[in-house]
């Protein structure tokens, strides 16, 4: 698989600039607020970086920064490296408001976690174009605040307190939610991709710092429309479980990976029931169901996206014997490689529903 090796030099420069900038930012903004940067702009912004805190960055600068990086990938696909999470997504504050106490001392991935390709021959699990990025810390997510929300802590607190003082008042929740922007924000549907395994979440993940973090990769399908885009079988699999919005499948070949698809439309995945009686092998590339925003209370539980997990029994030598642990593994590198194959036309053909 070819990488953007030609731009390795600019990567080095960018990293140096980044380190310098983060230091400066922390001094300038961090002292005042906590962690510095919030990607604001909301639904009306064409760029995630045009905002009040980043007022002296204009779009042309952003464009030139982006243009300095050459991508030879089909369709202009670019991606950030595995393990490189959004900076505030691993801060100690769940919602990275500028007035929250934050710390960047707890990065997401543990240093010992292997971010290799844990499923080298995988079919990309979505039909069409896709955007792997954070659902939580980008427009529309619980960990995101628009410029309006950022402008006044008092306004934000008032709306938030009112909304959650009586969740039955849906209008109040809606008012508070507008401060999070829209998940359909065009900036959510742009490259580069960004890893969000080990993003700060309440769930446990032994591979993340503090043994907590996101257990898969979130991927937006081509558009923000619910129940339009198809999820695809990643390899030849058998169905392990059909829950209300989750489909769990298992690869039929060693190492018998488990893949989980969350936020699926229940009506589509229900077709894989019942499990008892026959073992149906679902071929790689087969449509599994339509992606949505479903959760335990039905639709609109989250943004329209696929939460995609890979689980494996991973063994390490402990006191002379192998100790296997069934664990979530980082899907990002496998997804990047599978998406590149797909864009290059080497993908598994998608077969009928």
């Amino acid at each position: 698989m070819s990488r953007n090796n030609s731009s390795g030099g600019s990567a080095v420069i960018a990293v140096i600039i980044l380190i310098l900038a983060l230091g400066l930012l922390y001094q300038c903004q961090g002292a005042k607020y906590g962690l510095p940067v919030i990607p604001m702009g909301g639904a009306t912004s064409s760029s995630a970086i045009s905002s009040s805190t980043t007022a002296d960055i204009d779009d042309s600068e952003a464009a030139s920064a982006a243009a300095s990086v050459e991508s030879s990938a089909p369709g202009g696909f670019t991606y950030l490296p595995a393990t490189d999470l959004m900076p505030w997504s691993w801060s100690s504050s769940t919602i990275p408001l500028p007035w929250s106490a934050t710390s960047n001392a707890d990065p997401g991935y543990k240093a010992t976690t292997v971010a290799d390709n844990w499923s080298p021959d995988m079919c990309f699990p979505l039909e069409g174009l896709a955007y792997a990025n954070s659902q939580f810390y980008r427009p529309g997510g619980d960990g995101y605040v628009t410029a309006e929300g950022m402008a006044s802590k008092a306004t934000y607190d008032a709306l938030h307190a009112k909304a959650y003082s009586d969740p039955k008042q849906s209008g109040w929740i809606t008012a508070a939610n507008t401060l999070r922007g829209s998940s359909c924000d065009p900036t959510n549907y742009q490259y580069p991709w960004r890893d969000n395994f080990c993003e700060k979440r309440s769930g446990d993940n032994a591979l993340c710092h503090g043994a907590k973090g996101h257990q898969g990769q979130d991927i937006r399908p081509e558009t923000c429309h619910r129940s339009v885009h198809w999820a695809i079988a990643p390899e030849d699999v058998v169905i392990k479980d059909v829950a209300s919005y989750t489909l769990t499948v298992r690869g039929t070949k060693a190492p018998y990976r488990i893949y989980r698809y969350l936020h699926m439309n229940p009506e589509y995945i229900a077709r894989w029931q019942p499990l008892e009686g026959t073992t149906t092998v679902v071929a790689a590339g087969r449509k599994l169901g339509r992606v949505g925003d479903f959760g335990p209370k039905g639709a609109s539980y989250t943004s329209v996206h696929l939460h995609f997990e890979i689980r494996l029994s991973v063994a390490e030598p402990v006191n002379g014997t192998l100790r296997p642990v069934n664990t979530f593994v980082p899907p990002y590198s496998a997804l990047v490689a599978a998406y590149q194959r797909k864009l290059a036309g080497n993908a598994c053909p998608v077969t009928a529903w």
């Binding site: 980044l18 310098l20 982006a66 490259y191 591979l207 590198s333």
Partner: protein
């Protein structure tokens, strides 16, 4: 700096937030190594294997209708015993030989218990689980190390016995089921009761060959320390409290 950010920082920010930064060469194309199926520790199994219980378990719905799948399963199949309160009424069993899955929908809307076992592992870099806190579970009198993890929609427990890797998963995805996943009490209770061992025909033959068939009708009176036991002390008071927690409903 009164909220102003230097141009240098701006460029870095642009790269960080919106730009397609070139990735530095990483081991992204490297794939962790898949190991050969792990050997089964029949000797340890012989201390806890009870053919009478196994025969009864094989007779349960699901296992019975998938008898050929049970017979081709090469590793010991673990099932939750009666103390767990887990219903087997809707049991579905599926095997690929070196790995099996058991699906146990419970008579509570949105509550499912999933079990699996595998002898195929992927090699990890040493230290991948360094610092991870494994808990001690008293599994039918045997102390077993287990890793409990809260997931997006429930809980997962991973443990190893007889050289194999086993997983319990509890999924709660409707209101009626949520209390079962509010904390780890329910999955811990299931873990403690994973004491029923079933062998398929092929595994049974291997077991007999490895142990000479032995007198395995009843577990030996003093089973000794199994090879997968862990020497760390077990807090008996906690175990007693857990045992007293019948029935299962949280």
């Amino acid at each position: 700096m009164n909220g102003k950010i230097m141009p240098l920082a701006a460029v870095a920010l642009a790269v960080m937030l919106g730009g397609g930064i070139a990735v530095s060469p990483q081991a992204q194309d490297a794939a962790p190594r898949v190991l050969e199926p792990a050997p089964i520790d029949w000797k340890t199994l012989s201390r806890v294997y009870n053919p009478g219980v196994a025969a009864k378990s094989r007779g349960t719905r699901g296992l019975r209708v998938r008898n050929e799948q049970v017979d081709t399963t090469t590793l010991p199949i673990l099932l939750p015993d009666a103390t767990t309160g887990v219903s087997r009424d809707g049991l579905a069993f599926m095997s690929l030989g070196d790995v099996y899955d058991v699906n146990l929908p419970q008579p509570v809307k949105g509550l499912t218990v999933l079990l699996s076992g595998t002898r195929v592992f992927v090699a990890s870099q040493p230290g991948m689980f360094k610092g991870v806190k494994f808990d001690q579970v008293n599994m039918g009198g045997q102390p077993v190390e287990a890793l409990f993890s809260q997931t997006e929609d429930g809980w997962m427990a991973s443990f190893s016995r007889f050289g194999m890797s086993y997983t319990i998963e509890v999924i709660c995805d409707a209101d009626a089921a949520m209390s079962y996943c509010a904390d780890s009490a329910y999955i811990r209770k299931i873990a403690a009761g994973m004491t029923e061992v079933v062998l398929g025909a092929q595994a049974e033959r291997e077991f007999v060959a490895a142990t000479g068939g032995g007198n395995t009708t009843q577990p030996p009176p003093n089973p000794g320390k199994p090879t997968d036991a862990v020497a760390a002390p077990v807090n008996r008071d906690i175990l007693k409290r857990q045992a007293a927690n019948n029935p299962v409903k949280p």
